[in-house]
């Protein structure tokens, strides 16, 4: 099968793709697939995680990531077989704080004293909210790297994909700098917080929401979109993940659901296919088919609600074999063919 030509990309202006979603929807998988989809010919993409789970390392089957940008995969190849590069970064608050202090302040001996006094530990563990400030700060740095900047060895990225906290917490996470700006009326912290907020609220950022076609996640997606809009944060697309296989046509689904399938015809089909058949097997297959058809109907109801949000949507199948490198590339191709890029 030849791949259909890629649609023109939906997000050419976006430098920062934030990926959120309810727990259990496969948010991290989708973030990784988006990064692979964005890494077209000659492009460099950074995939960041901030929740300390080493999910990227596990998905790509590599050693746990340090606080350092690592080459992790080639992007999904285009028709000519060419692709770009995906790097990954595991951001932990403590390293981000130390790096931030070293980068912007020449503290010298005082820097060490901060650590001895427990300031670093306090800031990254006890003080609520500070973690989020540090995590978003590092992402901001990676997005805003000047081409040919101070450090020659630093990669400049065409896009950064952030595997962000779940939908229930995303407004708080992305809004933490505006809280901070309210506390620091002047000074360096205020300036940094303002710069981060203006990036996050600009068209250079898109917050994508991952959902599955079930009631609670779809409701949460809708609530999340409303919250993001109210906070002035740019809503991107909705990625519908883990979609059930489309093995039956619409008419077949209706027949199965309404018990209009003749067991005799299934029996004769199975015989033709050289399956050792009895009535129990036929009844089981029809029962399983009915379970499936009922769930597909529920999915369709939720799909209509997703469409009503009026933002670009993408669908990814549930892969029965689970997620590995190959599966991620497959998902990335599917995203690109649906116009993600």
């Amino acid at each position: 099968m030849t791949a259909p030509p890629d649609r023109s990309p939906d997000w050419p202006q976006v430098a920062l793709h934030v990926v959120t979603g309810k727990g259990g929807t496969g948010k991290s998988t989708v973030a990784a697939a988006l990064a692979l989809a964005l890494a077209t010919t000659g492009k460099n993409v950074l995939l960041c995680e901030v929740e300390g789970r080493q999910g990227i390392a596990k998905m790509f089957d590599v050693d746990p990531l340090p606080y350092e940008e690592r080459r992790i995969a080639k992007g999904a190849p285009d028709e000519q077989g060419r692709s770009g590069q995906v790097n990954a970064l595991h951001i932990d608050p403590e390293s981000a704080l130390l790096e931030y202090l070293a980068m912007y302040y020449k503290l010298g001996r005082a820097g060490k004293a901060l650590d001895r006094f427990g300031v670093i530990d306090f800031a990254t563990t006890v003080a609520p909210g500070v973690r989020d400030v540090l995590l978003t700060g590092k992402v901001y740095e990676a997005v805003n790297r000047p081409r040919g900047g101070r450090k020659g060895n630093q990669v400049v990225y065409d896009a950064v994909v952030l595997d962000a906290p779940p939908t229930g917490r995303i407004g708080q996470f992305l809004g933490v700098n505006s809280e901070l700006a309210g506390l620091a009326k002047v000074g360096p912290v205020r300036n940094q917080a303002d710069s981060i907020m203006s990036l996050l609220r600009s068209p250079r950022t898109a917050v994508h929401l991952v959902t599955i076609l079930e009631e609670m996640p779809v409701q949460e997606t809708s609530d999340g979109i409303a919250e993001l809009r109210a906070a002035g944060l740019p809503v991107g697309g909705i990625v519908v993940n883990l979609v059930r296989p489309q093995a039956l046509s619409t008419s077949a689904l209706a027949m199965v659901r309404d018990d209009e399938v003749a067991p005799a015809s299934i029996t004769s089909d199975l015989k033709r296919a050289k399956v050792d058949v009895d009535a129990a097997l036929v009844a089981s297959l029809v029962d399983e088919g009915r379970d499936h058809a009922v769930r597909r109907q529920l999915e369709d109801e939720q799909r209509a609600l997703v469409a009503a949000e009026g933002v670009p949507t993408y669908e990814l199948p549930r892969l029965s074999g689970g997620i590995d490198r190959g599966a991620l590339l497959e998902l990335a191709q599917l995203l690109r063919h649906q116009g993600f890029g």
């Binding site: 004293a113 001895r116 609520p128 909210g129 708080q172 046509s249 027949m255 296919a273 399983e288």
Partner: protein, 387 residues
Amino acid sequence: MRPPVLDIDALLDDPGTGIIVCCGSGGVGKTTTSAALALRAAERGRKVVVLTIDPARRLAQAMGIEALDNTPRPVTGIRPMVEEGAQRLSGDQGSLDAMMLDMKRTFDEVVESGASPEKAKQILENPFYIALSSSFAGTQEYMAMEKLGQLHRDAARDGTYDLIVVDTPPSRSALDFLDAPERLAGFLDGRLIKLLLAPARGPARLMTAGFSLITGALTKVLGGQMLRDVQTFVTALDTLFGGFRQRAEKTFALLQADGTAFVVVAAPEPDALREAAYFVDRLTDDDMPLAGLVVNRASPSARTDLSAEEAIAAADRLRAMDSSSLTAGLLQLHADRVRIIEREQRLRDRFAASHPHVPTAVVPAMASDVHDLDGLREVGVRLADQG
């Protein structure tokens, strides 16, 4: 190898079980599990209160707790079980109250009960306090434990409840509350707090060389105004810290005691089970009483033993004759279902191999979301029925 079975009814019926804490990563059905456990316990004769963090709207409505007022409210529609064994605890009928955690309200109450009215007013109006209590990550975990401690004290005093079921915030940091007492102690005994309190306490003898070095650095990074605001805030809170720490230590001891049972909730997915393993290890390290693992959302079992490979081969043969064959579609769906079941089984086996002594209950997925008491009751039946 099969792990031991988690006997939910034995856990709920044991009068020694006073607190059940449900923890696990987000999206695994933790809130639903907490509510289902609480309902089942109540219908088996216990006097239960369930503390939820962020229930789905319709579930909250069904339980009558959509108004967020930080007070337990009775749930109507409890149907005492008549089966053998239930209600053997007492002649009394069970009851169920439910509440949703209001993080800010809980924090405000801590301030109001711990400080003089003028001081409390000063704190409640402080911009740092407002940000801290309403919008910062991490506060929820502390407040959930604060509320648990409160409920437990009230229940012990008034005999209102004999079982408290707690849902925990949906993040890895859900277990951060285990560290809270130690962290607070480290902070309060540390030098940073002395530095922050120095201006209020005045004596210049505190201003050693190290102190001025730090103050200089902090001023440079935070700016003078912000550092002063932080100092004002910490000074205002100073009187509360002791009480807060004391209660955190008490809650920690309470969680470690025999009357508590931790239930780790997961789904048969690699991420959720990995998180569950992390929770189990963490609880074990801290000597916390682990009751077992609940694996939610398990795929329904296949109804025939036709293998995935046979089904796919047969589907291919049929499609070669008729590309729109319905039977081929059914075979393909069966193969997909079998593969998913096999994968889930492998993941569970892997967990069991590394944690062989953790009692486990597997709960098949419901066809649709749970948003009423009947749904919760059905989850309860599935939790208890481990065939």
